[in-house]
């Protein structure tokens, strides 16, 4: 996988994964959905989806940079993805969630195509 494409896939998946994890918390779910009640089924869904996407983000990193370097790069993208969702949540919560849905699809597509 080429480096720019791998970086894009890793970043989109890391961002989507971090967003998933934040939506599993009532406080942030409320920011997006407008209601604080987070059904436990939905909480589990977001949490599992979040972790899954974060783990998936390591795949393009390892493909492009090899195992050792790839894992370090992955950590970097987790930080970058986390910072972005944290900055988006208070200002544009709905857009942040929508974007995460979009980046999930984009990230998975890149993985499937390459």
């Amino acid at each position: 996988m080429s480096v720019p494409l791998a970086a894009l896939a890793a970043f989109t998946l890391a961002y989507a994964g971090m967003t998933g994890l934040s939506l599993a918390m009532p406080r942030h779910y409320e920011q997006v959905a407008g209601q604080r009640v987070l059904p436990s089924g939905r909480r589990h869904f977001f949490r599992i989806l979040g972790w899954l996407l974060l783990i998936l983000a390591v795949v393009p990193c390892i493909q492009a940079w090899g195992t050792a370097v790839g894992v370090v790069v992955w950590f970097g993208f987790l930080t970058a993805g986390g910072l972005l969702i944290i900055l988006m949540l208070p200002y544009l919560p709905r857009l942040a969630a929508l974007a995460a849905a979009g980046t999930t699809i984009a990230g998975v597509l890149i993985l499937l195509v390459t």
Partner: protein, 623 residues
């Protein structure tokens, strides 16, 4: 633990902010250097050249250096390469003398006009600020001292801010103190793995300087230790017998044949002395090396500088010093971001900025808490100390931003070709920083913040204009030429300028003030924190932590190699690397002990325990 985090963080935070911000800019030192040398062709396209051309370049260099300094500490010759088509020469007479350098035409060997390539430290200035504050070994020690405090601040921070995982994604803007705490938490928790890594690896790079006890206990000197660890000949003592340096061009060609690759750099130790030695370094292939955390390296060959006899050949991919040395090298690769190419550089840049923001918000938070309600930690001096802290906050956080961007301005404004030009650029940096301190100390705090942040923003945003007016170059032409390093510098500066402008705007709307005089005066009676016994107990703990902790860590670095079942040199390295963790542990323990007396007892017993075990091993272990 909260006490340790608050006060340790405050006093160390200013220096750490400077280390972090300059280190973050230093990630792109090559790109910044390139921007600061606008006379260089937009995109350097230098043909690799033949072996004969390189040999010719070395001949010219040797002729020049023989004239300039026939005898001295070292000569270094950088061969023409992609970043610079000239021959670069560096030399120094002795350790106290001035570092000399010049550039030669690679074909004729004539000295190039200084105006052709503006003399500047470039982006390396930020790197030097980062690890030594331009203060040599004393500076390295200071940075190491603060790096240890940072390690402790990180551990104590995780304990202090218990809610960091609950508040993992929480940033609530426009909520005053709450927002500062959120920003501080968020900037730290997301970059925590990065920060632990960057501090620990930073200490590990200078391990033999910071924690030399293990080395000196097991070896007569560092040279012997390193030559055994890396299985290479030890540097030779100067004999003071005159001798002619061998023809470097022949050595270069021999080395290229041995290494199977082009050479890029030649260094001569003790030229003119019979102890002279020559090292020829292979060309470092960045793309090949950035795939590894344990890079194969470029290889080098060491020759006797007089007879030309080959003393050592280290091929690319030849890893020496066993696993301990491999760990130390991986740490170096991690710290210097020498892997993963541009992707990792940008990720480091983001994490580094977040780290700087963590320190800045921590220092600001300290005062935000006390603006509402003075805590009278300093009795009747409280108001003056608060004012000092506010001043330093402005001068270090906003002032350093001004100094950094002013450094880039000075690069375009100081006339090209004047004597000691690079020195003047650095002087500008420090002068501007000092002026920022002066400004912050005479202006009301609120105005000082707004004015300094605005100035920094203005200087950033106007930099492309200055560049265009002074050199006629601008970001569009850079882009059209495909000169992405220079494009990156200009766009990043604009981005940082916008960030600073936003912060200036925020500072304007917040208007921080000192706690009302009445709040302080009303409680003039001494608070516990200002009492003499309390201060003494703090002093006792600080001494137990720094001195006692260092003694215990040194003890471990001496003791562990005696019992570890691996080669002695590797064991010394492994133990020394571990001793930094032990040091951190002792400091944390000293500050969590119930009373200073208990802390001292604990440290004392640990140190005695180490000493006795060392004695026992030395006596019966056949050391």
């Amino acid at each position: 633990m909260t006490w340790l985090h608050t006060w340790g963080g405050l006093w160390a935070g200013w220096v750490l902010f400077a280390i972090f911000l300059t280190g973050t800019l230093g990630v792109f030192d090559d790109a910044i250097t390139r921007w600061m040398k606008p006379e260089r062709p937009l995109v350097a396209e230098v043909a690799p050249g033949s072996a004969e051309q390189r040999a010719q370049a070395v001949r010219l260099a040797q002729t020049y250096l023989q004239q300039a300094m026939p005898r001295g500490e070292f000569w270094s010759i950088g061969l023409p390469g992609e970043s610079d088509p000239a021959i670069r020469l560096f030399w120094r007479e002795n350790e106290d003398a001035k570092f000399q350098q010049t550039r030669l035409d690679p074909v004729t060997g004539t000295e190039l006009d200084k105006a052709v390539d503006r003399e500047t430290e470039g982006g390396h200035h930020f790197v030097h600020m980062h690890f030594e504050f331009h203060a040599g070994e004393a500076g390295i020690w200071m940075v190491g001292f603060f790096a240890m405090i940072m390690l402790v601040a990180l551990v104590s921070g995780v304990i202090t801010h218990k809610r960091i995982f609950k508040d993992f994604f929480t940033f609530r803007p426009k909520k005053g103190q709450r927002s500062w705490l959120d920003a501080h938490n968020v900037a730290s928790v997301l970059t925590l793995p990065f920060q632990f890594m960057i501090v620990y690896t930073g200490l590990a790079i200078f391990y033999s300087l910071y924690m030399p006890a293990g080395i000196f206990a097991h070896y007569p000197n560092k040279d012997t230790y390193f030559s055994q660890l890396l299985s290479r000949p030890a540097p030779r003592e100067e004999t003071h017998i005159d001798a002619q340096v061998a023809s470097l061009d022949k050595l270069l060609l021999t080395a290229e044949t041995e290494l199977g690759r082009r050479a890029s750099f030649v260094s001569v130790n003790h030229p003119g002395d019979s102890s002279a030695s020559v090292t020829v370094f292979g060309l470092f292939d960045e793309e090949e090396n950035e795939k590894y955390l344990l890079p194969p390296g470029s290889g080098n060959v060491i020759f006797d500088g007089i007879t030309g006899e080959t003393l050592d050949i280290q091929m690319s991919g030849d890893h020496r010093g066993g696993e301990a040395q491999a760990v130390q090298r991986v740490m170096g690769t991690l710290h210097f971001a020498r892997f993963g190419g541009d992707t990792i550089k940008w990720l480091y840049f983001i994490s580094g900025l977040a780290g700087a923001i963590m320190m800045a918000t921590g220092s600001i938070l300290f005062m935000v808490k006390r603006r509402q309600k003075a805590l009278n930690e300093f009795g009747s001096h409280t108001r003056r100390v608060y004012r000092l802290i506010e001043t330093l906050n402005v001068a270090v956080i906003a002032g350093l931003c001004i100094a950094c961007i002013a450094y880039l301005w000075s690069n375009r404004l100081i006339p090209v070709g004047i004597e000691d030009r690079s020195h003047w650029e650095i002087t500008t940096f420090f002068t501007v920083w000092l002026m920022a301190l002066l400004h912050a100390s005479i202006r009301p705090v609120a105005s000082a913040w707004v004015e300094q942040l605005s100035l920094a923003a203005l200087l950033c945003l106007a930099l492309p204009l200055l560049n265009w007016l002074t050199t006629g170059q601008q970001v569009l032409t850079y882009g059209l030429q495909g000169d992405w390093e220079r494009v990156g510098v200009e766009l990043t500066v604009i981005g940082l300028g916008l960030l600073l402008a936003t912060m200036a705007q925020k500072a304007r709307s917040m208007a921080p003030v000192l706690p009302p005089r009445s709040a302080v005066v009303a409680t003039q009676q001494k608070t516990i924190t200002a009492s003499v016994p309390y201060r003494n107990s703090i002093l006792m703990r600080v001494l137990a932590a720094t001195l006692g902790g260092y003694a215990v860590a040194s003890g471990l670095a001496i003791l562990l190699p005696m019992v570890l079942p691996i080669a002695r040199a590797e064991a010394v390295l492994a133990s020394t690397l571990l001793s930094f963790a032990a040091y951190t542990g002792v400091i944390i323990w000293v500050f969590s002990a119930r009373a200073p007396k208990r802390a001292w007892q604990g440290v004392f017993f640990l140190a005695i325990g180490c000493a006795l075990t060392i004695l026992f091993n030395a006596t019966f272990g056949g050391m």
